[in-house]
């Protein structure tokens, strides 16, 4: 049992071995230290750990999966953590939806992009933040 109460990445990979076939696995975590993981240590090129800046101990307790395909994005929002007890021993809720790839922003000023809705805007914001965070962390670690 992981008493650190961090995501149990090795447990997830053990239960879902197909994760190891995904070219890039981004783990967004909190609390300063990434989850200890043997599979991530064995394949450092496949697993990326990102921690968004937040208050100590965090202000959010989000749990989600984003499955990215060239033409589609599947989002799963969960109420349980990625730990054994929450996954198998508790009744939690899971919401899943798939979204088609959004059209590129129009090149000409003044022409409106297709509306993506509030959830789409949140998704877009999430992606921009993660991308910037990834770039920032890459810059820090490659110094």
């Amino acid at each position: 049992m992981d008493r650190h109460l961090r995501p149990q990445l090795d447990f997830v990979v053990h239960e879902c071995p197909a994760v190891r076939t995904v070219p890039r696995v981004v783990v967004v975590h909190g609390d300063g230290m990434p989850p200890q993981s043997q599979c991530a240590a064995a394949e450092p090129g496949r697993f990326v750990f990102l921690q968004p800046p937040c208050e100590r101990f965090g202000t959010h307790h989000s749990k989600a999966l984003f499955i990215v395909r060239p033409a589609e994005l599947t989002v799963a929002v969960l109420s349980g953590n990625f730990i054994f007890a929450d996954v198998w021993n508790k009744t939690n809720g899971i919401w899943t939806e798939s979204f088609p790839r959004a059209a590129r922003a129009p090149a000409t000023a003044g022409s409106a992009a297709a509306p993506i809705g509030a959830f789409g805007e949140d998704l877009d914001g999430y992606y921009r933040e993660v991308r910037e965070l990834g770039i920032l962390m890459h810059a820090c670690t490659s110094r």
């Binding site: 049992m1 995501p7 879902c16 967004v28 989000s62 990215v68 996954v87 009744t91 939806e97 979204f99």
Partner: protein
């Protein structure tokens, strides 16, 4: 809990105290979600076909051909040990979803990138800061 190595007697004792309510609640939820009202329904003879078709709950998906987990709201699947121990009815796991469905080979087919988002905290560092006396109380 059984799967985590908790003594079976302790699990049964806990279930004897609270289990009936939990199981009844889970069964009610399962019935409510799948529209069934037959409380005497027998467990399914075979697991539900979880990926027999794509569900497009919000009508927002642009694709129905790609393999993947069921869409919409679902309860999570309980570990089979609960059912094998006779503590939870088999039908409570019908129509549920687990990370093994979400991250199956089917679901991850063609996936170029996977994000796992889970903010958790280390309670061993959090507790002494927010409640300095708590470790002492626990020790006592």
């Amino acid at each position: 809990m059984l799967a985590m190595g908790f003594p079976a007697e302790r699990v049964r004792s806990a279930m004897a105290t609270h289990g009936a309510d939990l199981v009844a609640c889970a069964a009610w939820l399962a019935d409510t979600l799948d529209g069934s009202t037959d409380e005497d329904a027998q467990p399914a003879s075979e697991p539900p076909a979880k990926r027999s078709k794509m569900h497009d709950a919000a009508g927002m998906s642009g694709s129905t051909a790609l393999p993947g987990p069921k869409l919409g709201f679902h309860l999570s699947t309980l570990h089979r040990a609960w059912i094998e121990a006779g503590l939870v009815a088999r039908r409570c796991n019908e129509g549920t979803l687990s990370i093994t469905d979400l991250l199956s080979a089917d679901s991850l087919c063609g996936c170029s990138e996977l994000h796992i988002v889970n903010f958790m905290i280390d309670v061993r560092r959090w507790l002494p800061i927010t409640s300095p006396l708590a470790p002492l109380l626990i020790c006592c």
